[in-house]
Symmetry: D2
Subunit: 260 residues, 4 copies
């Protein structure tokens, strides 16, 4: 079955995108990413050496850009200006690389996105020719505005960055997915394999995660779990699940009554 993820005109076989931070060392990063099967890896430009510091180990040596699609991100940015500046730097460091992940956060405590700054940054970046995959809240109106600006993918949170709380509001995600004409990927909040499967069963085009893998007791095994979970969820979505009934002989769907 051909079922590629297409972002900004490029096709990917894997629908799991992964971060590169929070690992013990670059060797563990590489081992986990190999186990995940991810083709797109996101890199926090402000925290990761991809050539800024010539005398330190560079992620580029462990994850050669010839093997992986780099997705520079703006982790740690709290304003549109900061985010734009950071991605311009990434573009220089990575030979006019245009595919980026924009995130502008609201405060360092919750790491909830600042959607007004995100909108402002997205406008500027799209104008400057970036292909913007944008991290955002699960607000369907904002998601649509980001699409209208010209972002190439919209990436709502499942729950807060680093929380592992899973998908707190599948209903908002459903509304976003139903109206989007660009890929919708869940980014942030996935904590275990079933969370990733649920995201895909909702109809997401992909899932992006970092902490769920890097902070597991066994990151490489969890990366393998996530690879299978994303595939399982995608196939479960495509296969068309059975209808729910409270019990087999029930005349109606389970939620016509008080519950659900």
């Amino acid at each position: 079955m051909s079922d590629a993820l297409v972002i900004a005109g490029n096709s990917y076989q894997s629908r799991l995108l992964v971060g590169t931070g929070k690992y013990k060392d670059f060797a563990e990063t590489r081992a986990a990413i190999d186990a995940s099967g991810a083709e797109i890896v996101t890199v926090a430009i402000r925290r990761t050496n991809i050539g800024q510091n010539a005398n330190e180990p560079s992620l580029l040596d462990y994850l050669p850009p010839s093997e992986f699609t780099y997705l520079p991100n703006t982790a740690g940015c709290y304003s549109a200006d900061d985010a734009v500046r950071t991605l311009r730097l990434a573009r220089e460091l990575l030979d006019d690389h245009r595919l980026v992940k924009l995130e502008v956060l609201g405060d360092p405590n919750t790491l909830y996105p600042n959607v007004t700054e995100t909108l402002a940054a997205a406008k500027t970046l799209v104008k400057e020719g970036f292909e913007v995959m944008v991290y955002t809240s699960d607000d369907p109106i904002i998601a649509k505005q980001l699409e209208d600006i010209g972002c190439v993918a919209v990436m709502p949170l499942a729950s807060l960055i680093g929380s592992g709380m899973g998908i707190l509001n599948p209903w908002n995600l459903q509304i976003i997915i139903e109206s989007a004409r660009i890929p919708v990927l869940v980014d942030a909040g996935v904590g275990c394999a079933s969370d990733a499967a649920i995201a895909m069963e909702l109809g997401c085009a992909g899932v992006l995660m970092n902490t769920a893998i890097a902070a597991a007791r066994d990151p490489v095994l969890m990366a393998s779990a996530m690879k299978k979970a994303v595939e399982a969820g995608r196939e479960s979505f495509l296969a068309g699940r059975m209808a729910k009934k409270l019990y087999s002989a029930s005349p109606s769907s389970p939620t016509t009554g008080m519950i659900g």
Copy 2:
């Protein structure tokens, strides 16, 4: 990683057990089971021809007992007597086969298990030398009694047979799993891939399903999804998931307050 499921002294690589009913024909049954990777297949003795009717197609031709471990079951039995009689017949038909799935249901409407009849049947069957995998409710006291009788695996429901409602009470399953010394498999109620992954993340030894695969729009693709979901959930369980926090900087677990 060696991580076999051991039931009654035999090892299995797959933790997904599947039913053989509700398919279009035996060819589809076989294709779905191949995609699922299941080694143990359960067969409703009262509904499936495994030799009782010499002139009709036999499941044995499509799923040769040399390739699969048969698990005759008592679907359609509402009393201990009926169930015991059915499994004695299966033993004859399958050359003194001893591994069986016992289920005694309470009524034809909900298909909820009748636990008192189940206990009675289990006692008789264990005495007669059967290796009993037993379908039951999620009642932890009954589960323990079934273990004490000598059943080789206890298989609580996630939700009702044919409902696809998923795991309605993970807490009871958790209590059963924590105190069991025999394998605990979720049987009944799984509707989609994430349900199967959740069951495994709870620490189940395996999952048994039928309708979720057979009643999907594309049963073979759903079987593949379930194979991956069970493996993903198992690996996610073994890998040790990250801790949950409401937000990254939160000083405490998410449920010390009012919610959760």
Copy 3:
């Protein structure tokens, strides 16, 4: 609006039944029960002095049987024999009182009900003329068997005794309520006011609780909260709630898709 709770032929205005244990002293017990508006109070015969110890303070002095309907219970009993013996004693202590609450637990750790011993005790007690309100699991088949034996009310758990976990499986409760011809009351597991309201919205005839009130920081205020919550839930049930839709203009109920 006349909307009395009728149990064993007697009418009650309050649908909240409360326990009498776990309070600081009998004075606090009385204050909380007054705030709760409860007319039926349940008493653990093995733990509470209602005359067994002539020289100690007696609950009867604080909650005169002329003002409250006593419901002696078998808390602490782990076999049918124990439970029957305990209730015979209560009958003597309370002048041939017949309305009782039967509970037989499975183990002192989880306090999950032992349904087989409960069935046995119920049979004996009904034969001896007791009016048995019976605590049980949320197993619909067992609930029906207890009704068939002649119990006057069936009282499934919401979650385990003393857990405060709320209603873990509303679906099983719904099945029990739909098929019962005697009052169904939720007993055990309620932790806060909304839990009680949810139980009533499911169609329960009443709610019985103890720890949720006695272990609150302010038991008397929580008792008042529970009084209002039970009334609110009852009225909400009777008023017929609005239909759910994912969004106002949605053409269908929210659960025709993947979620819910």
Copy 4:
């Protein structure tokens, strides 16, 4: 217990605010509002006659402003300009009335708030001396910005307007409540009494609803249910609920494991 709700310096005994639309006629509106005990009633200026049409029945005759605090709202407005214009009109109609409810919606299909337009309108209205109670999403960063602008209350949705889906993301509400210095009221999404109780148990200062009452089969009875539910939830919050444990003897909180 004195436990008044204080908004813009005024004290209210009732924490339930209600809408005035969707009723059969003004007489039913009045009966339901009386049963609800609400002191603040919100009025859609674009849909309700409060004097704009001199020859038609006026809500003012049924709900005299001497008895109720009017809260004119901007239902039906999709831009900041529209909302501001509508509230200026209300101010004229209601003798320089300053307390208003601002809502700016994103589209007529979902009725999800447009937070950027809401921010713009709030700035203008606060500058013009309005006391702005503002309807918004459950985005904690936006909620904080609205507070910083000078709104007198922030009113996040529980779920979409007219959906009756209840509280979809209690976690976001919790974050908003924990950091707010102005009253936080849940507005939109409540469908039944337990939803209102849950909102109050989360620590909300109040609840605003319309459809849940007006679209119930018996609006007046549902109004009474909501009155009690809001009081129950408030008292449950103030009383300090018992701790949750998976089972009574459990050494830890229920969510240290995989679930929850």
